[in-house]
């Protein structure tokens, strides 16, 4: 798979709930060995990331992660997205019942080689999501 195709599959098929596939199924062939997804303090391996996404799919049945802009320099792809969804259950410590939605900005930086993800740096505006879900 081409790098850009792989990047799009990540958002359209693994981060966005759909009926055709599952996060683990989509991501397994896309993750390079030793893949690492880093935020400020934590880093996740491929398996942990897939586990988190499977949980997201369960608790946010309408989760969408829509790329707004994709920037590319060499092996690096930057994706600015709008993530939205209506969680139902305990979501990051906030009790939710599916009646409230969040809609936030996220930016990810992926390093790709031969159509596979080598690593990702990601930031999401979760404080805004929490405010929207509590309001």
């Amino acid at each position: 798979m081409e790098n850009k195709e792989a990047v799009l599959a990540f958002y359209n098929k693994a981060l966005t709930v759909n009926t055709e596939t599952r996060p683990t199924e989509v991501l397994t062939p896309l993750m390079a060995e030793g893949y690492k997804s880093s935020s400020s303090v934590d880093s996740k391996g491929a398996e942990q990331l897939m586990g988190q996404l499977e949980f997201f799919w369960k608790i946010i049945p309408d989760l969408k992660w829509e790329p707004q802009q994709i920037i590319n320099e060499g092996d690096v792809y930057v994706v600015r997205s709008i993530a939205s969804g209506s969680p139902n259950g305990d979501f990051m410590g906030v009790p939710t019942d599916g009646t409230k939605s969040f809609k936030i900005l996220t930016i990810d930086i992926h390093t790709m080689i031969d159509g596979k993800f080598v690593n990702t740096h990601h930031v999401e505006d979760w404080p805004t999501a929490m405010k929207q879900l509590k309001s």
């Binding site: 880093s38 935020s39 400020s40 303090v41 802009q69 920037i71 590319n72 320099e73 690096v76 930057v78 600015r80 809609k103 936030i104 900005l105 996220t106 930016i107 990810d108 930086i109 740096h121 930031v123 999401e124 505006d125 979760w126 404080p127 805004t128 999501a129 929490m130």
Partner: protein
Amino acid sequence: MKQLIFSILILLVFSGIGNAQKNKANSKKIMKDKEAILAFYEKALTVNTETRPTAALSPLLAEGYKSSSSVNSKNAKQLMGQLEFFWKVVPDLKWEPQEIINEGDTYIVRSVATGTPNGDFMGQATDGTKTFSIMTIDMHKVNDGQIISTHHVEDWVTAMKQLAPKGGSMAMQGIETLKIADAFMGAMGKGDMETMMSLMHEDMIWQNAGDKSLPWIGQWEGKKVILEDFLPVFGEQFKTIKWEPNDALSSGNTAAYFGQMIGLLTNSNQETKEFTYALRVKVKDGKVILWNWFEDSFEVSRAYHGK
């Protein structure tokens, strides 16, 4: 034929020069844009002694500049205002680019932002003892050395966790604050100097708003000054006749009290009418660091001057 070849050669040479000039102009433009981006982080987002956010950003932001997060967008003036506030409340703020990615006129900067806030920071009470270190990613659109627009995301959730007091939530911390403030107030009511002294922070500030011609009105800085200069004068000249606390609230390191009181001014031997007081107390390291007193200062002044 020779002439034709010659013409083609000349053409090739000239177009080569043209391209070289174009490339040179292009790399010059990239340099200029990159410089603007770096200045944004080094001079405006990182506290330094050479400039200020407003001075650093004014030449860097294009007319109509917009900085967008999930729901809000700020113009240049609002962004500068926010950064001026950040500089004040986070005096060691640093925003260090880790990676810069460029395609066309778009620059993406992944940074580590760190700082040790002191004051109310995004609703979290901080006292300069805890530091945050978080990832941020910004996407800037740049033209001719000026930033046209920015999309930005910061991991503030992690910062808030890093800054949260060890003793638990703001509410839990507030309960502890109220206990300390209550103990200090109780000791003062009983004239228990020993307990009072044990609850005073070395850098405590005692602040009384009101008529400056009264010798205890003003700001008294430091435990020693309060004990030696303020309390003896105040204790001698103001006697509390009635003291009735009505409400006590607290959150984090701050407590607030409201109540009714009557005082006697020994200077004039006159009592005040009953008035409402308010008190703002701040606690640091288990001791009182601020005692900020509000009263009906007009009534107290009137009684002091025997009017």
